[in-house]
Structure formats: C-alpha cells, structure tokens
C-alpha cells in the first residue's frame, strides 16, 4: 500500500517494506533534498495507533543514538510518521566481511548499552526496546545507532503488550508473553555481544563468553539484572584491555590454578608458585577460593605467623578467609594465586588460568571449551611423559610437565626450575 497525498512533498526512493495496510518507505524530502523514512499505516489497521505511540516513546528519550522524529501527520485514511534516515551499515552487513578486535567489540557493546540505558531511564518510565538484532544496530563511523522502535513499549504497559520479537534474538519471556522488565533488553544486548564475538578475533575469550552466558540466561532471575551492570562489566573488560601492560611489576594480578579433576595437585602447585615468586622478590599470595587450606596450614605449620589476614611461613604467604566475626583486612598488593579447586567457573574471573591435569586412568578429567585460549596454561602433574604428549596432541596445546617431588612443604630444585620456566614462558610475572 503506497500512501496517497505525499507526492507533493516526498519522492519515493525505495520501498523498504509493504503490506496491504502499512508501508515503510525511504523518501526524499523535496524541499531540502534530504532522505527520510516515512512510515504509513491505514487507520483501519488494528495497530494503527502504534505509529503514534512510537512517536510518543521516542520523544522522551535523551540520546543522539536513536532516530529523530520529524513529523507525525494524519489524514482521513492514514497515519504517517516521518523520521530521520539513519545512514550507515548494519552490524550484520559489517560483520559479513570484517573480523573485529576485542576493543571494537567492547566499544560497540558499550555504545549499545548506552542507548538501552537511555531508554530504560526515559522520562515517563522505562521503555523496553524488545527488538535487538544486528539488523537494527547501525554503525556510522564511530557512532552506534539503534533503529526500528516499532515494538518498543513502556514497562508499565508491557503486561498488555503483544508477545512480539524475533526468534533467536528476543528473550524467552518476551516470546512466551511472560512478565517483562528491563532484563529482556539485557538479553538482547547479550545476544548481540555473542554474535559479535563469533565474528571477532576473541572467539575463545572466556571472560566475554561468561558475560554472554550471564546476560542471556534463559532464567530471568539468574540473568544480569540491569543494563547498567552489564555496561559496567564491559567497561571493566575494556579497562583491563587498555591497562594490560600498565602495571609493570605485576603483569598478572590474579592467576587461577584449577584442577581438571580432584587430587591432581592444584593446591600444591599453587602454593609452590607462591613460594617461588616470593623467593624471587615478587609479592605473591596464595588464596583458597573454595576451602580453608590456609586455615589448616595455620593449625598445622610450626612457626607460622599471621598479620593483617595473611599467614606467613618461610616464603609462603596465604590469605586467611576469616569469617564475619573478625575485623576485615585490606587485601595486600601483589600477585594472587587463586586455588579454585576443580571449579572452572571460578577461574574465569582471573587474568590467567593454569589448568592442572592428572594422568591416572581412573581420573575423569574435564577440560572446558576455552582451554585453547592464549591466557590458559596447562601443567601435567603426577603422570608420565607419554600421557602428557597424548594430552598435548588432543588439546593442541603445550603441556608443561610438573616434576615428581618427595618434599611436602619444600620446593625442590627441579620444581623451582619448571615453575620459573612456566612463569617466564607464559609471561605470568616478571
């Protein structure tokens, strides 16, 4: 349906979408020769008022990243909405022939969060966009803009809104007509980040992947609760990317040591790394994320001392996880060796991850899909050389072999040598 009565002001350049009662046209405004988008809908159409509501919604938003409404007109038959034509390339088109860097990915994702944040903080109550997909994200040089607010609704009216959205992009509660809030847009932005990551140089970046998993959780209660939190998490990642080499003394601040199975010696290796780093003059602290190993050491080590929540014993320094009834201590500065037990998820918050693999045939080892990431190092412990070669082949990654040691609390020369090699090779610390 091409609307009548517009030819005096507009030339139709392209019909973008057309049905019996609606049309979306790219038009040329004759007076000044500017391209615009004209949306027309017949008054008899059940959604005729959607054009008016879209105009109302967009008016209250303070963001240059959304299209400007130029005019809303009506005739006896039709409603018209004329808005700014957003020139540029859609994210989908852009990623067809471009592989983006992590920095670009984060810039786009943060810009997108800014638009959604503006929608959620709009005058008159939060607006839920509900239609996040790569086709609606337009890249204009360094600016990211969002288009098509056709199914956006006010949060207060979301309960009455029809369950609309694009399958595979919209949040599950949106398609099932469940109760909606700002988290449906968190899901949408999460899906866009996932889409960008697949077309980026950081396909295996586990921190981004973890963020995507948290943002696109099907269970709304487990999902990141607001777009601001998601934005802050992205900003943290951006900061880390920028400041990666700023702290010269501690290249990595948190090194996770995690076992691929129980009883593969992750705790021992983490403690020994801590000892060696302190011996070499780098302040290093062992922290047990899952248990109370340092408290057990406190009980069992003769000559151990404590100060400010740290247990000192020769070159070992361990962070005590005091309970609530002990004064909280300021964490010291230095390298943290985080003993994650076998919890791979817990390791994802660290700058580097060391996975300890065993070799006993009865051990069921589990390696995550991000094992190939360059920030992950694998050490084989308590196993033979042949097993480690097999493992290296299957994982397509270098596997360091930890030497057999008879000393319980000490650090043998061979252990020192291999730990030093790992730390240097993997650029974990100076």
């Amino acid at each position: 349906m091409i609307p009548d009565g517009i030819s005096d002001r507009y030339d139709i350049v392209q019909i973008l979408q057309e049905t019996a009662a609606t049309a979306v046209l790219l038009v040329n405004y004759k007076k000044i020769g500017a391209l615009r988008i004209l949306k027309a809908i017949h008054r008899a159409h059940p959604n005729a008022h959607s054009i008016l509501s879209e105009a109302h919604l967009l008016q209250g938003i303070k963001s240059s990243q959304i299209p400007t409404i130029i005019s809303v007109e009506d005739t006896d038959e039709m409603y018209y909405l004329v808005e700014e034509y957003v020139e540029g390339q859609s994210l989908r088109e852009y990623l067809l022939d471009t592989t983006i860097t992590k920095e670009t990915l984060l810039n786009i994702a943060i810009s997108l969060c800014n638009v959604i944040e503006a929608l959620h903080n709009a005058d008159g109550g939060p607006i839920l966009y509900r239609d996040m997909k790569p086709e609606h994200v337009i890249l204009q040089n360094d600016t990211v803009r969002l288009i098509d607010f056709g199914i956006a609704v006010r949060k207060s009216e979301a309960a009455k809104a029809r369950p609309l959205g694009t399958i595979n992009w919209a949040a599950p509660e949106q398609l099932k007509a469940g109760p909606l809030d700002e988290r449906c847009d968190v899901f949408g932005v999460g899906k866009i980040i996932e889409f960008m990551q697949k077309n980026s140089l950081e396909k295996d970046d586990y921190k981004l992947r973890k963020l995507v998993i948290q943002a696109t959780d099907e269970d709304i209660n487990n999902r990141i609760s607001s777009i601001t939190i998601l934005k802050n998490r992205l900003l943290e990642l951006q900061d880390k990317t920028i400041n990666k080499y700023e702290d010269k003394r501690y290249l990595c601040k948190k090194i996770a040591v995690v076992g691929a199975a129980h009883a593969v010696g992750a705790t021992r290796i983490a403690m020994n790394m801590c000892r060696l780093l302190n011996k070499k003059g780098t302040d290093a602290y062992y922290k047990d994320e899952k248990g109370d190993n340092v408290h057990s050491l406190m009980e069992n080590l003769d000559g151990a001392k404590i100060k400010d929540g740290i247990l000192y014993h020769d070159n070992f320094r361990g962070i005590l996880n005091y309970g609530e009834a002990v004064e909280t201590q300021k964490p010291p500065k230095g390298v943290y060796l985080i003993d994650c037990g076998v919890d791979m998820e817990a390791a994802l918050d660290c700058d580097k991850i060391i996975v300890i693999a065993g070799g006993a045939p009865w051990q069921k080892q589990c390696f995550p899909d991000w094992i190939g990431d360059k920030t992950v190092t694998i050490i084989g412990n308590m196993t033979g050389k042949l097993n480690m070669i097999k493992l290296a082949k299957s994982l397509k990654k270098k596997v360091y072999m930890y030497p057999h040691s008879t000393s319980i609390m000490g650090l043998s020369k061979e252990e020192e040598r291999i730990i030093q090699k790992i730390l240097q090779d993997e650029k974990l610390c100076y």
Binding site: D302, K305, K307, G323, E324, A325
Partner: protein
C-alpha cells in the same frame, strides 16, 4: 632504636602450636566465680574465634532460663537435629537451654561447643563435668575471693580437674596464690573490645586459654 621500633610495630602474631583438637570436637565450659565476671563476653569471644578465625563448626549453648542474647543473635532461626537455634556470624546459638537439652547437644554435635553458664549450680554441674576445657573466671580481690573459695567447694570432685582459672588482672601474687591453693592453671582474662568483631591481636590469648 629506630629499627627496634619498626620491628615492634611490624610484629606478627605468632601462632605456634595452634592445633586445638585432633578430632575437631571439643566442649568448652565457662563459669564465673562471682556475677558480672564477663562469662558471656569470654564465651562469645571464644565461639567467634573458633568459627571465624579457625573456621571450626561451633555451637554456643546459653545455659540459663531467660536468654540475654536473643536480641543480638536471634535474627535467623534454624532447626537442626530436633533443636531450635539461631545462626549468627557462622556460630549456631541455642538460647535459654536447659540441662537435658545441653547434654543431648554435647552428645550429638560434631564440632566445637562453648557452654555459657549463667550461674554454676548443682543442677547444671553435670554439664560442666562433660566439658573438656573448664574455664572459671574469678578475682582474688578481697571482696571477691570468698566467691572463689565458695565455688571451689562446689566444684570439688570431678569438676575440680583440669580447671583453667581466668584472673581478671595480671597479678603475680594472685597467680601464685591460686596455683598454691587450688592447683589450677592460671591465665589472665584477655581484653576484647567486641566479641563479634575480633582483632588478630585477640587470637593469641584466646588460643592459650582454649588449648
């Protein structure tokens, strides 16, 4: 001199021989020779130290008719093994507990138990007998010494064994007197500002007392 001052300032708390119990099960009873000796304060300090500093599973039994602690620790009620308790900062509290329930708890609880005796009596002496570490807080000042002798008479028998006497002040003469009269180990009562917010400097005296 300067180096000595720096060393003193940076002194770390030595925790030599901190191991309290091999099997992680121990009952510590605290009684007072006279009223207002700080039995509850010390009991709470010990319980919170065991739980928050040493990460031990800890039960606090308030052996009295009317609870004084309910307003402080009573926010989160829990039920365990048929008992009603309250969980506060990791420690499980059973408040206004009677002798029978206390005995049941001592038998069944797998972990450390601190029993706060509001007052020592013949009725609850059976609970005190069951304690592995028996702490008596007292003072040998002239207006309190009578109470110490009175309670020592009450304690005669099984309860007299392994008593650790906690003196209110660090007085050598009083320590000698207690050791001579009663053959008890004597410690000085630690000064703890807040039993729910312990400092590392509080650990050392508490370890000495409960070992």
């Amino acid at each position: 001199m300067k180096n000595f001052a720096i060393k003193l300032f940076r002194r770390k708390t030595s925790i030599k021989n901190i191991k309290i119990e091999e099997n992680n099960k121990k009952t510590i009873g605290v009684i007072g020779a006279s009223p207002k000796m700080g039995v509850t304060h010390l009991s709470l300090s010990i319980a919170n130290f065991l739980c928050s500093a040493l990460k031990k599973k800890t039960l606090y039994i308030e052996l009295c008719d009317d609870s004084q602690l309910l307003v402080v620790v009573g926010d989160r009620q829990i039920n365990f093994d048929g008992h009603t308790g309250f969980l506060y900062k990791g420690v499980t509290y059973v408040l206004a507990c009677d002798v029978d329930e206390a005995i049941q708890l001592i038998d069944s609880w797998e972990g450390f138990i601190v029993v706060d005796f509001a007052s020592y009596s013949k009725t609850n002496s059976i609970v005190f007998q069951r304690c592995d570490t028996k702490l008596l807080i007292g003072s040998m000042t002239s207006w309190c010494s009578r109470n110490v002798y009175q309670i020592s008479n009450k304690l005669k028998g099984d309860c007299m064994k392994n008593i650790s006497y906690i003196n209110l002040k660090n007085d050598k003469a009083e320590t000698v007197l207690i050791k001579k009269e009663f053959k008890w180990n004597v410690f000085v009562r630690p000064i703890i500002d807040n039993p729910f917010r312990l400092k590392e400097s509080d650990f050392e005296p508490l370890i000495q007392i409960i070992k």
